[in-house]
Symmetry: C2
Subunit: 223 residues, 2 copies
């Protein structure tokens, strides 16, 4: 039976930038940042490393494309029938959840190749700032502050929770951390020791959202 009856699947579906970026996101999600390798990517796509370079220029562009593929949908929520405050909150939580689900994304925003993606986030935030009625001269500063807070704090949070070994649940991790803090030097780390117990009951996501609301309140005049 050497004859192939099914001619339509020639060898496989052809390579494409989309398929490559998709496989890269998968690899980053499952094996982590160090697991994204041109060789591993080639194996998953059943090809050689060289073929990938026909579609992307190198690893930097690949990481940028993977970042964009994750972040852009997360900030593309529908705005209609929402107050600007609600829209900003939704957008912020979209970024937060995307960073949380794909811990490698936060690190990308500390590197140099993120610019187009960040500009998209800035644009969406800026439009809501306009809708808030912020006067034109203050719009740039207001949008910058919000964007820096959202991307910066969400990234910082993702870096913190990434320390959790995969498989352990959040409660166990917080328990272990609280225990470690309680054992710190009482002189040097008095404050951390004292608040160690609060670790168990706090909720990063809620506190992140509260921070967004606080900045929005500050922007709109605080009156």
């Amino acid at each position: 039976m050497t004859t192939r009856t099914r001619r339509t699947e020639r060898r496989q579906e052809p390579l494409s930038r989309e398929r490559i970026v998709g496989a890269a996101v998968d690899l980053l999600d499952t094996v982590g940042e160090s697991g994204l390798t041109f060789r591993a990517l080639a194996e998953r796509l059943e090809t050689g490393p060289g073929a990938i370079y026909w579609h992307v220029t190198g690893k930097a562009e690949l990481l940028a494309a993977a970042t964009e593929a994750v972040v852009v949908p997360a900030v593309a929520a529908d705005d209609t029938d929402r107050t600007p405050q609600e829209a900003i909150r939704t957008l912020a939580l979209g970024v937060f959840d995307a960073f949380d689900a794909h811990p490698w994304v936060g690190a990308q925003f500390s590197r140099a190749t993120w610019r187009p993606t960040l500009l998209r986030v800035f644009e969406r935030i800026g439009r809501q700032v306009q809708a808030l009625g912020v006067p034109e001269p203050a719009q740039f500063t207001a949008a910058s502050a919000l964007m820096n807070y959202i991307v910066g704090v969400a990234g910082q949070n993702a870096a913190t929770t990434r320390a959790v070994a995969p498989g352990t649940n959040r409660a166990d991790f917080l328990d272990a951390t609280a225990h470690a803090w309680s054992a710190l030097d009482p002189g040097e780390f008095a404050f951390a020791r004292g608040v160690a117990g609060r670790l168990r009951e706090h909720d990063d996501r809620t506190e992140f959202a509260a921070g967004v609301d606080l900045i929005v309140a500050g922007i709109t005049g605080g009156t």
Copy 2:
């Protein structure tokens, strides 16, 4: 003249963890993150790569030690004779300036090896939060919010300004960015186009400090 008259300089001052970390910081500052190589480090220390491993366990520990060497002095300012608000502001600007002077530090805080350093920052912030008179149940949340803002936003700012090619000055860079934004698609990037001109006159450091003040005001009750 094959005889060595100077016997005192045997070969060099001996290797030590301190000297290695110092050279690593130098290398990171001058050549950037990709310039920190065990081979380059060995050459600068006039030794071989193997010798370095007697003093540090690997590159991860080396990066963590370099980060600590830069950040800890930056947050160790003298607190006496300051209001808590002033102390927090000074601390925040210390982190901001350290991240700005050593752009590779911000990226470290998105990775997994920063924990001891971050805890030191948290401790210092927490003590000032206590001094502000924040009630005990809210201290943890308040200190977390401040720390996340300070580290997150300072890191984000450092990543943005790092895009500047070394040698170009800030005004030229802002000019070029403003020009690029003005050329964006009017439909997709209406807001960014509109505020492009504001880029030239804004000051990241001042706006960062204003954000810190805003959060402090929110923490202390906002009355």
